[in-house]
């Protein structure tokens, strides 16, 4: 249960500094504004006449806020400890590498939940004026939750590779945006390759959720993605065993 100790320290560190609150504020401001403007757009320009549902607008925008904020959340996890040197002591406590990875991941994930929870207010207020079908909204939230979890797992891994937080955040952006743009240029790639790329694209697996569709293949994809990157993180921590510590 040592991962809970690691997790609690990380959470303390998050909420003990104002950076967390800035991230939180920016995320809520942006997602609130997006919700508002998407709702206005939706109501003014057709409502249910449009082939695209309201949640698709809202959550595709929320996805961008998540992409913006989460790498900044995960960048410090290992990078800071490496820079400060505190990680060396961590290695000497009777705790498994896996527990360290899990604890840090969990801390970021809980922060993400804290970030996401207040955005529920937007549809909740909307619901008072218009009783929409709640099902698709739940699917959309599940989607953004899975997507964000994948971002975090990727960020945790990148953070374990470097001791520079800027590098950590930037490289995470790089990978995530690459996974996003992977299928943008379908014309130049071979059809068969596009087929494979589509399967790999992080964001293509997301689009079903805001439509109100929960496809288990998409869920599995995200879970695998998370598991894979956490495993890579665990491996990367083991590098010290043959490469040494600075």
């Amino acid at each position: 249960m040592k991962f809970l100790v690691v997790c609690r320290r990380e959470l303390r560190s998050y909420f003990g500094s104002y950076i967390a609150y800035v991230l939180l504020a920016v995320f809520l401001l942006l997602s609130g504004y997006f919700f508002y403007s998407d709702l206005i757009f939706f109501v003014l320009f057709g409502g249910y006449v449009l082939p695209t549902g309201l949640w698709q607008y809202v959550f595709l925008d929320m996805r961008l806020c998540t992409l913006l904020v989460l790498p900044l959340l995960t960048m410090r996890l290992f990078a800071e400890e490496k820079k400060l040197g505190t990680i060396e002591l961590l290695w000497t406590y009777p705790v498994r590498d896996g527990e360290i990875v899990l604890g840090k991941f969990l801390a970021s994930w809980i922060f993400f939940l804290v970030m996401l929870a207040p955005t529920l207010l937007n549809p909740l207020i909307f619901y008072r004026f218009y009783q929409f079908d709640v099902g698709p909204l739940c699917a959309a939230y599940l989607g953004i939750l899975l997507l964000g979890t994948a971002f975090i797992a990727c960020g945790v891994f990148i953070s374990s590779l470097t001791e520079n937080q800027v590098v950590s955040a930037m490289a995470t952006y790089g990978i995530l945006v690459f996974f996003w743009f992977l299928t943008w240029n379908e014309e130049v790639a071979d059809e068969r390759i596009v087929h494979v790329l589509l399967r790999l694209s992080l964001f293509d697996h997301f689009y079903n959720f805001p439509r109100g569709v929960i496809d288990t293949r998409d869920v599995y994809f995200f879970l695998l993605f998370v598991g894979y990157f956490l495993f890579l993180t665990w491996l990367s921590l083991g590098v010290r065993k043959w490469r040494g510590v600075r």
């Binding site: 040592k2 560190s13 003990g16 002591l89 961590l90 290695w91 000497t92 705790v95």
Partner: protein
């Protein structure tokens, strides 16, 4: 308590330590003495489970540091050379975190934290953020975290580095107070530190153990000759002549004269001969002024040089030299 057998650690082409073997008994305080880059920290990190050795094995309290890493780490308290603490926590919060990481019983946690706070004399800053503490205090907090859980083995990497003299004395007191309770390995590149605190010394240079012995024996064996520095107010030639005449004096070297005309001399005597009283008597008998008289301490470099070139060593010093015990 600690057994290291043929430890070798390579980082790529670089060999940090090579064939390091030693044993430390329960309750002993052992000093690792060596210049910077000798391999002290590497050896200590292996013992603490930071990384495994490339070859060889180490056993702490019966647990192999690689195969039973978690258990071995459970009995070790470590103080790293670069003391790095979470600056955004208060001392008490931090120690609580350490206690949890070391898996202490929650019921004992509070009293244990109070104990180590007292031990490391940081009780009065317990509520302060570590980031606001001075270097000396951070060092003590570092010691406190090592002491949490009363580990059977303490591994302290240069615990006195960067402290002011008063703090150094205090740190040594603290380490000496652990004698008997814990087995302690500490590293340093200061000879006097080892003499002040350790039961035994392991001298390490360029990744190899050169000698294992008590500080006293080591001093003894290393000094084939003793040197004494003195400053006298006297005619130079007469002084040199007179001092040369004393039985046991092998050589009298003339140093640069002091600005006010006093003569500086370095007297080399045969081994194990303390001629300070005779020298003083000779100077005063001649009616000269004696301004300074002190034994010349061997520098660490001089020790290593004499370790490698010592003519009485059984095996010639060389690349394939095996660690040898100097004591009989």
């Amino acid at each position: 308590m600690i057994h290291a057998e043929h430890l070798t650690k390579r980082f790529g082409a670089f060999t940090a330590i090579s064939d390091v073997s030693f044993a430390v008994e329960r309750g002993e305080i052992v000093g690792f003495l060596g210049p910077n880059g000798a391999g002290k920290s590497t050896t200590m990190r292996i013992l603490c489970g930071v990384f495994p050795p490339t070859e060889g094995r180490a056993v702490i309290a019966g647990y192999d540091v690689v195969a039973e890493s978690l258990r071995a780490r459970g009995v070790v308290g470590y103080f790293p050379e670069r003391v790095s603490l979470y600056l955004d926590m208060t001392v008490r919060e931090y120690l609580r975190y350490v206690a949890e990481m070391k898996g202490l019983d929650p019921r004992q946690r509070r009293s244990e934290i109070d104990r180590v706070l007292t031990c490391a004399s940081v009780t009065h800053v317990a509520h302060r953020l570590i980031g606001t503490l001075s270097k000396g205090y951070r060092q003590r907090v570092g010691i406190a975290q090592a002491l949490v859980g009363e580990p059977r083995v303490l591994i302290l990497d240069e615990p006195t580095a960067g402290l002011d003299p008063e703090q150094v004395a205090e740190m040594r007191r603290l380490i000496r107070s652990l004698r008997g309770e814990s087995t302690v390995i500490l590293s340093t590149h200061i000879l006097s530190e080892v003499e002040a605190t350790c039961d035994r010394v392991i001298i390490i240079n360029q990744g190899r153990i050169l000698a294992v012995d008590t500080p006293h024996n080591l001093n003894h064996r290393l000094r084939r000759t003793s040197q004494i520095y003195m400053e006298v107010v006297a005619p130079t030639d007469a002084a040199v002549e007179r001092l040369r005449g004393i039985a046991g004096v092998a050589q009298v070297e003339l140093g640069a004269p002091a600005p006010d005309g006093a003569t500086a001399l370095t007297i080399t005597t045969a081994k194990d001969l303390d001629l300070r009283a005779e020298l003083a008597a000779a100077v005063t008998a001649a009616g000269w002024g004696l301004r300074e008289l002190r034994p010349v301490a061997l520098s660490l470099e001089a020790i290593f040089l004499s370790m490698v070139t010592a003519p009485e060593s059984p095996a010639p010093g060389g690349d394939h030299e095996v660690p040898r015990r100097l004591s009989a």
